[in-house]
Symmetry: C2
Subunit: 409 residues, 2 copies
């Protein structure tokens, strides 16, 4: 079988880590399989390079940032190839360009347009294990591009698709996807299976196991992802189209504390008012998440929405502008909120789930400020100091501590 | 005019240094010139990468080491291009491959076979300042190669030759080539001019201003080198075919303390004896420097030679083998020696110079153990603890403290 095995920054953080990962790759080869290795930059390398660039210039061209940042992964490939060769495994490093990853021109968050993996196939045919730099490609001008934070996951999945690999294993320092962040909910357990849609909801809700774009690419190209721990021998989580093999309504819960809530009070209840506000935010690149509009009262409405905490300052300024233009009555900004979400394919068509969730929060003394739902998700905005209590309450209410059905070490 | 300006590792050691170098490049551009910038890796980056590789594996493939080490210079190019753009200077980073530097396959110490600088010329024609990664090229398989320690000097000189640049400026943290290492001889002064041959003798004698291979390339291609200080406004040293514009016999002195002396006593005075010994050393890649063979005494000879201190252990073992094979009488190994050298085109055909040098050492109480000469150099092996005394004595005897004829700051 052909495996793609991707190792994240914490898995290759030191020379010692790199040698242990090489042992792991060799173990797969020794079972008679072929492996394409994908690596991230070592530990905090990328952050350190960003800090240097920020110290050099306030205005950093996307091209030069990508030239700079792409070197971190290239270093990892050379070191990993050396570590494999030290174990007697013929190996060879490949940049994103060498691996045939062609992207668009959008530096810093390029999208993969095509993968031409001929050189990788030649290496495999010659019995050489390719070690590919994650997170990067080249555009049609042969300039290096990068795929954005977590882009090495996308590299692995795109290569697995192009090479028709039998497995795509994403290794990190956690043993797969959990029913909740185990640092917040100690009772959380790893999930054996998850659907792409569930993973996407969890990823965008704050779970940091896999990059959203990578999961989306896997869904679009039918790549089965196996999220595993590098240095623990746990079974990990399979992510595919099937979803959790469980009868439970909720598969997992997620928490996002990096949000802010903004409310405009007393704006006219007239067509185009919400559009005016949200177009203004969109023009400045600000994504809004949950939105509620209250019932009209004397021809006036309240509109509230949430944004990422990093966007709060800009969103507040733009909202104040909009409020004045709309002759509204007041602005409320709350930076002390959090979002708890329950995700599960089992939510579909089960009207009682939301009620059960609200009851769990009420019993825990948590007041719900806003509610948002999708087909497989319910999110609640609550006070940030109650975030952990709320997450644990939902986790317990849906019996998630029993749902992983996995032996963990 | 077209300038090539090369900045070494200490000149780009921090983001602050990089911004100051960018100001310097801009000053040249503001005078109406074009500049091709060549940069080394920041500070100790290369040493740090070597340490990581050594921690990963004992056997490091040349290809992977070159992939790894070449990233340091690439990081510098991206940061320097950003720093230039922050000053309003259109700039663009180039790898060795982008700059068209084609080398042989000898990883770690590749030789430049050809330079195809079309992309650099296109950038210059478009008003963009190219920033090129020193120390690297690609071989005919499109694999990255590196040119060996100090290889960024060679990159700059090769580009200056290929681009027919008007000037090739090599910037470092010293204000050019001095009559002696100023840390050893405080009276040392910078030289205004020096010939390629003098520079080569000084470089191989331990002066670390310019890489030997780079000076040799400049001599072969008629590139005039201007060695200057990055952050001092001193005139620096011109290195070309003309040599020092001085009537003095000696241009500069050099000191090398990283050597060892090995002597074989009482070997037969017969043809092939020296050949047997030195062929054995050569087969193991050990370069010998000075050699003396004593006058024959009862059909027996003594042979002594010097090697780099790093080679001393291997040389001792091989010499002991040779001694037994030749049925010689004894082996002497002295690791506490140093070599002082006086270099100058003016040595040619001036028989009194050697005597003057020996007199200076005698007056300083320094015993001479071995003597070696070339057309423009006299070297003496002495006890290492007298190295500094000896160097100062020669420097003073030839009046070098007056020879620079430069204003320094």
């Amino acid at each position: 079988m052909l495996f793609v095995q991707k190792f994240g920054g914490s898995s290759v953080a030191t020379p010692d880590h790199i040698r242990r990962v090489a042992q792991k790759v060799k173990a797969t080869l020794d079972e008679g399989h072929q492996v394409v290795v994908v690596v991230s930059a070592m530990g905090d390398t990328t952050d350190e390079l960003v800090a240097k660039a920020e110290a050099v210039s306030d205005t950093r061209s996307g091209r030069e940032m990508d030239v700079l940042l792409s070197t971190g992964e290239i270093q990892s490939t050379a070191l990993m190839a050396m570590a494999l060769e030290a174990l007697g495994v013929p190996a060879r490093s490949f940049t994103g360009r060498d691996a045939g990853i062609l992207t668009d021109f959008d530096h810093g968050r390029a999208r993969i347009l095509a993968v031409h993996p001929q050189k990788l196939q030649e290496a495999l045919a010659a019995g050489v294990t390719p070690v590919v730099a994650g997170f990067q490609g080249v555009n049609a001008r042969d300039d290096v591009t990068t795929l954005g934070r977590g882009g090495s996951d996308l590299t692995a999945i795109a290569l697995a698709s192009a090479l028709k690999a039998d497995r795509c294993e994403i290794y990190s320092d956690v043993a797969g996807v959990f029913t909740a962040d185990p640092r917040v909910v100690p009772a959380a357990v790893p999930l054996a299976q998850l659907s792409y849609d569930e993973m996407l909801e969890l990823a965008s809700q704050g779970a940091q196991v896999l990059q959203t774009q990578a999961v989306d690419y896997a869904r679009g190209n039918g790549v089965v992802i196996h999220a595993r721990s590098t240095f623990q021998d746990a079974p990990g989580t399979i992510i595919d189209h099937r979803g959790a093999a469980t009868n439970q309504a909720v598969t997992a819960v997620a928490l996002n504390k990096r949000i802010a809530k903004i409310g405009l009070k007393g704006v006219p209840d007239a067509p185009g008012v919400a559009a005016h506000l949200f177009e203004k935010l969109a023009r400045h690149g600000i994504n809004i998440d949950l939105v509620i509009q209250s019932l009209s009262h004397e021809q006036l409405n309240d509109i509230a929405f949430t944004v990422a905490l990093d966007d709060a300052e800009a969103a507040e300024r733009l909202s104040r502008e909009a409020l004045e233009e709309l002759k509204g009555q007041g602005l409320v900004v709350d930076r002390n909120v959090a979002k708890v979400s329950a995700v599960g394919s089992g939510l579909l068509g089960r009207p009682g789930v939301a009620a059960r969730l609200f009851r769990a929060l009420a019993d825990a003394g948590v007041n719900i400020q806003m509610i948002g739902t999708s087909e497989i998700k319910i999110s609640c905005i609550i006070a940030r100091e109650q975030a952990e209590v709320a997450l644990s309450a939902i986790h317990e209410a849906f019996g998630l501590h029993e749902s992983g059905r996995l032996e963990t070490d």
